[in-house]
């Protein structure tokens, strides 16, 4: 119990430090002293310097957004992993991201700018896309009460490539918006501001909170469908809620920052090695590690070829794919799949 508190405090502290460093680095460096001034003396006159503008309008929203999206992807990954009872699951691997991308792309090319219940339409369509694709992957890949890794990955690949070609088709038919879609799709935080934060925030918060409320049923589900049923849980409702909540977090992330793969895989892995597999602790820790991971990835993305920057989705894929392969190898080696 004490160890858990120490770990969580440490993770929060690390997140804050990473965020501060992240705010400081870039084309214009902002030193620690200056950072404090900007943060705490904002109300004073004379702060409308270029530095202040960069800090308030570019860096801070970007860092907050990266943390939020990282947390959302981490929580979504942990939720999907619990649902599929498989630690190799990630919103990207099982087609949730591609499904969300189709929905969001459709909204972009059709020029739907409105909102539904306060949620921007691209996010709503992204949510529908993500829920549909995960449900399809689950129905096809599940064999009885279990989801073998190989069938899961194959189904995920097939569904993802189908959805990927839908996105390509939409881009092809609307080539005037090609660069917009392309730039967004590769996963990037450049040019995102406060309005993105307020658009994605509520959906990610709701999804994450809903998943956290489902912690105990998800713990029970790890022992199998029949066990969950004999404990009085409705499998249909439980699965539906998990898919919906995790997809909400995924959809908000994808419609804001494009497809960012593998954060949802690595973050729960890290979290599980720190606080164990219980979902009540796993979800908050996955959120924290997801936020830290994506902040670091974004830091790399905008400094490695400075003053230019590369899409953060490329960084996470470059770092995440080898991790995924190593985890796959480990899982196949222990043979705990049948």
């Amino acid at each position: 119990m004490k160890r858990t508190w120490v770990l969580f405090s440490f993770a929060v502290a690390l997140l804050v430090v990473t965020a501060l460093v992240s705010v400081g680095i870039g084309a214009v460096r902002i030193g620690p002293g200056r950072l404090c001034e900007l943060l705490f003396n904002s109300a004073q006159p004379g702060t409308h310097s270029a530095e202040a503008t960069i800090f308030w309008q570019l860096r801070l929203p970007r860092v907050l957004l990266a943390s939020l999206i990282g947390a959302g992807l981490g929580v979504a990954g942990a939720g999907y992993q619990g649902l599929f009872r498989n630690p190799l699951v990630d919103p990207f691997v099982i087609g949730a991201s591609s499904g969300a991308a189709v929905g969001a792309t459709l909204a972009i090319v059709a020029g739907w700018q409105g909102s539904f219940l306060g949620i921007p339409l691209p996010s709503v369509l992204a949510l529908l896309g993500a829920v549909t694709s995960v449900a399809i992957v689950y129905i096809i890949a599940a064999m009885g009460s279990q989801v073998p890794t190989v069938s899961l990955l194959l189904t995920g690949v097939a569904v993802s490539s189908f959805l990927g070609s839908l996105v390509s088709l939409l881009m092809f038919l609307h080539d005037e918006q090609l660069m917009t879609i392309f730039g967004w799709l590769m996963g990037s935080f450049s040019g995102r501001g406060w309005h993105n934060l307020t658009a994605a925030g509520p959906l990610i918060a709701c999804g994450g909170l809903a998943l956290w409320f489902l912690s105990r049923p998800l713990d029970a589900l790890t022992f199998g469908d029949e066990t969950a049923a004999t404990l009085g849980l409705s499998l249909f409702h439980l699965r539906g809620l998990v898919i919906f909540a995790a997809s909400a977090a995924t959809a908000a992330s994808v419609s804001t920052a494009g497809i960012i793969g593998f954060v949802g895989l690595v973050a729960p892995h890290l979290a599980r090695s720190l606080v164990g597999p219980r979902h009540a602790l796993l979800f908050p820790m996955s959120a924290l590690s997801g936020a830290i991971l994506l902040l670091v990835a974004d830091g790399v993305a905008r400094t490695i070829v400075a003053p230019a920057e590369i899409p953060v989705g490329i960084v996470t894929a470059l770092l995440g794919s080898p991790f995924f392969l190593a985890a796959l190898k480990a899982r196949l080696a222990i043979g705990r799949d049948e």
Partner: protein, 272 residues
């Protein structure tokens, strides 16, 4: 204390009927064992008794009330089914696993209270797994894992316990240990216990009553002495056997024969 009864039960999956007009009752404090060949429908019957498979016709009656009148949560407070095998994909600790048995009483969110803690600790002690509480379930042996699952079922504090082949895949020592413990629990907590088994001799030794499931229904029902007869064993399981008495307990002991029927009958007559 609860009694559980199947009345004229017909059920199955996807349009295929597995059990037809089956009637069977289980009473508190006694061990009812289901026997039958592979695919006879023992697991289906247990699932139906647990309310996980819905009857197509007939009903399951718990304390003279139709099970369909219960919500899922009420049902899970009163009936526990232990499936034949459970997955253990994540390394939750033994204690965390046993605590899940309180879900029917605490729901999804409410933290465990003093009574829940008490039930968990009692179940852990009763199954003799105190020394394992902090171990990940993924590292347990088959016998230890069975005891953990049984402890979780006990923590559920329901009056009816349904065990689907609890001895499958266990060493002979653990097979007897599990059944002995289960029988003691039934007596001491006045639990209604229904167990499906494959081994005729285990059934003969531990059952208070036996029901043979065959051809979609109960073909014979009674004490082990009444049920375990060579003619029935031949017609249901397709083997010839002699039935003797256990030298210590006097319970029926089935000794299968390896020769053909004709030779066998001669041998049996000669032996008798």
């Amino acid at each position: 204390m609860s009694s559980l009864e199947a009345r004229e039960l017909t059920c199955g999956y996807n349009g295929k009927v597995i059990l037809r007009s089956l009637s069977l009752a289980a009473a508190p404090g006694e061990v009812l064992v289901l026997l039958g060949p592979n695919g006879a429908g023992k697991s289906t019957l247990l699932r139906a008794l647990a309310g996980i498979v819905q009857p197509r016709e007939g009903s399951i009656v718990l304390d003279s009330q139709d099970l369909r009148g219960f919500t899922m949560q009420e049902r899970s407070q009163r009936i526990t089914l232990l499936p034949q095998s459970e997955r253990r994909d994540w390394p939750l600790t033994v204690e965390q696993c046993v605590e899940l048995g309180r879900i029917p009483h605490r729901g999804w969110l409410v933290p465990l209270n003093q009574a829940d803690r008490g039930a968990v600790i009692e179940a852990i002690n009763e199954m003799g797994i105190r020394h394992l509480t902090q171990r990940p379930v993924t590292q347990l042996s088959g016998g230890e894992w069975r005891r953990v699952v049984l402890a979780r079922a006990l923590a559920q504090s329901s009056g009816v316990l349904l065990l689907d082949e609890p001895t499958a895949g266990l060493d002979v020592k653990f097979q007897h240990e599990i059944l002995r413990t289960a029988r003691e629990l039934a007596r001491h907590r006045q639990i209604t216990l229904v167990v499906s088994l494959h081994d005729l001799n285990l059934a003969g030794q531990y059952a208070d009553r036996l029901a043979i499931i065959h051809n979609q229904s109960v073909v014979r029902h009674g004490t082990p002495e009444e049920v375990l007869k060579p003619d029935l064993i031949r017609s249901v399981f397709g083997i010839d056997a002699v039935v003797i008495r256990h030298p210590v307990y006097g319970t029926p002991l089935v000794a299968p024969l390896t020769v053909s029927s004709a030779e066998c009958r001669q041998a049996v007559e000669a032996w008798q």
